[in-house]
């Protein structure tokens, strides 16, 4: 199976091309913010290096959030348009789970974490098992102080991972003195791992309705819902 894997959810941009378990080409870049400009040229280059044509692909695997809203839409748009236009399979994997995939050899519970500003984080809890990654607590958008309290039940057997753990390392160490906190290169998403994991996952059956997992309403919608309880509709977009 020829697989393209792509993660543009946060500042790192990572893409990989695999043939089954074999990684043919991969690149991770942390210096560019313009994923919309550079993701596709990178994908094109990797396929060229792998001596593949777009039509050779069987499956595209994208990290589908949470993360930066604009960033998420780059990989998700590429993924769903490729799946539609080439009639290939599409798989979406949590951007937090993608970080957890870097730790297949730990028996600690893995807590990937993205800073969502104002003391809020995107986070979840994962565990490595022989069959693959298991979700212990699903991804959420939560106040970091509340999240710390919720994690108490796991005692100290935790591994926090993410570039943004740097902002929280003091609070983490205070509550979990022996927890491992990873913020270096191993806290970068690796599209190679994403591509491997994506081959074991069920494919998206409704590509049209595949959207990023923002895990958060826009401010305008949240305010509107508060002022208009029970008025939410589902036909906000009309085809002329």
């Amino acid at each position: 199976m020829k697989v393209l894997a792509l993660d543009t959810s946060n500042r790192p941009l990572t893409a990989a091309v695999l043939d089954g378990n074999q990684l043919l080409a991969t690149t991770t870049i942390t210096t560019e913010r313009k994923h919309a400009a550079f993701a596709l040229p990178l994908v094109a280059e990797l396929l060229e290096r792998a001596h593949l044509q777009p039509t050779d692909l069987d499956r595209v695997v994208v990290a589908n959030g949470p993360g930066s809203y604009t960033g998420l839409r780059v990989a998700v748009t590429i993924g769903k348009v490729l799946a539609t236009t080439l009639k290939i399979q599409l798989v979406g994997i949590s951007s937090l789970a993608t970080l957890a995939l870097n730790f297949s050899d730990t028996n600690r519970l893995i807590v990937p974490l993205f800073d969502a500003r104002n003391d809020l984080v995107f986070s979840g809890v994962y565990q490595t098992e022989p069959a693959g990654l298991k979700t212990v607590l699903p991804d959420r958008h939560v106040a970091f102080s509340r999240w710390i309290l919720e994690l108490q039940k796991f005692h100290d057997n935790l591994l926090f991972v993410g570039q943004d753990t740097l902002h929280f390392v003091d609070q983490i160490k205070e509550s979990f003195p022996t927890a491992v906190v990873v913020s270096g290169p191993k806290a970068l998403p690796q599209a190679g791992e994403l591509g491997l994991a994506g081959q074991k996952q069920a494919v998206v059956t409704d590509v049209d309705h595949f959207v990023p997992r923002y895990l958060r309403l826009t401010q305008a919608e949240a305010d509107w819902q508060r002022e208009h309880p029970g008025e939410e509709q589902h036909n906000y977009v009309e085809h002329l």
């Binding site: 919309a36 040229p41 994908v43 094109a44 236009t85 305008a220 919608e221 906000y236």
Partner: protein
């Protein structure tokens, strides 16, 4: 040998419409799928950019598949992919740009980077081929500008609004009158039943140059309505609308007529969402009747749509203007600043 027929797949997502079209030879619309989000943004009284971007990604492949199906064409039939890359809302533009780049790359098709305003102007092609030199009056919620086109692929802004766009002014005035967003067409409707009795100011009519200004008219309108509220005076809604519209249209027509004296155009093109306005269409038509041939985009192609992007893309295709896969959205794209790569 590749056939000489141009068959362009076009994407437009610059604001609150997701649209994909298939255009043959720049003038024949084989499909024009438009998904509008107006109902969603009505909740907020205006377009909320993040909400717009989310709707675009929900709709993009639905519109793509529908357009190809309606046009009865396959990717192998296409000659190029065109896309709006600016101006517009950056998050919205990015969905269309990313989708277009993906299709172009997947099927080895040239990518045509279209300026949204050029698209509005090229909607005139659905009526008749544009004859150059041409002048265009582009009026919409985001734009009010006079564009001079000496030849096919040259656009020069000779006048533009210094503050609010005319469509934006319509929406704000409409809101003051208690009308729902988008208020422009409703103001136009009310105006047709009223009379110009309020004598609102005609901004910059006496100034040389072709720039527009609508903030004075807007303030004057809002002040008049608020004053009436304070003294419990009942104002005629239809006369208010008619007076506002007369002032706005006066300025647009006056500046355009004057520009045509200095710039000898073969055609005047009226384009953009506000080009659907009844009074503007009528008044402009009679004002320039002896001067120049007026071409108005069909009403269905005045609002944002991908068909017009395909028409403008056809012009780029002819001139072999292409973009690379690193094409990015440019939310503040202007004609003067266009930097395209020639291959």
């Amino acid at each position: 040998m590749k056939s000489k027929t141009s068959l362009i797949l076009a994407f437009e997502t610059s604001c609150d419409e997701t649209s994909v079209a298939v255009i043959r030879d720049g003038r024949k619309v084989l499909a024009n799928e438009v998904a509008t989000q107006i109902k969603s943004h009505q909740r907020f009284g205006g377009v909320v950019p993040e909400v717009a971007s989310r709707h675009h990604i929900e709709q993009i492949t639905i519109c793509l598949e529908q357009a190809l199906q309606t046009a009865q064409v396959d990717y192998a039939d296409l000659s190029a992919v065109a896309v709006t890359y600016g101006p517009g809302l950056v998050g919205s533009l990015l969905v269309g740009v990313t989708a277009a780049k993906t299709v172009a790359w997947a099927h080895h098709l040239p990518l045509l980077p279209v300026n949204h305003i050029a698209g509005h102007i090229y909607a005139a092609q659905f009526v008749q081929p544009i004859k150059f030199p041409a002048m265009a009056l582009v009026v919409s919620g985001g734009h009010t500008e006079l564009v001079w086109m000496p030849t096919e692929n040259q656009f020069e802004i000779i006048g533009e609004t210094r503050d609010d766009a005319v469509g934006e002014t319509y929406d704000k005035v409409g809101r003051t009158m208690g009308l729902a967003y988008p208020a422009g067409p409703q103001v136009d409707q009310l105006a047709q039943q009223g009379h110009d009795t309020f004598a609102f100011p005609r901004a910059m009519q006496d100034e040389a140059g072709y720039d527009f200004s609508f903030s004075g008219l807007k303030s004057s309108f809002i002040n008049r309505v608020h004053h009436a509220e304070q003294v419990h005076e009942q104002l005629s809604q239809v006369d208010l609308a008619a007076s506002f519209q007369a002032a706005a249209v006066d300025v647009l027509v006056d500046k355009t007529v004057r520009a045509l004296h200095e710039y000898p155009a073969q055609q005047l093109i009226l384009a953009g969402g506000v080009a659907a306005n009844h009074e503007l269409r009528q008044r402009l038509a009679s004002a320039v009747a002896n001067q120049v041939r007026l071409v108005m985009a069909p009403a269905q192609f005045c609002g944002d749509n991908a068909a017009m992007i395909g028409a403008a893309g056809w012009m780029l295709e002819k001139h072999q203007v292409r973009a690379d896969l690193d094409l990015n959205a440019n939310p503040s794209l202007e004609f003067e600043r266009i930097q395209l790569k020639k291959h």
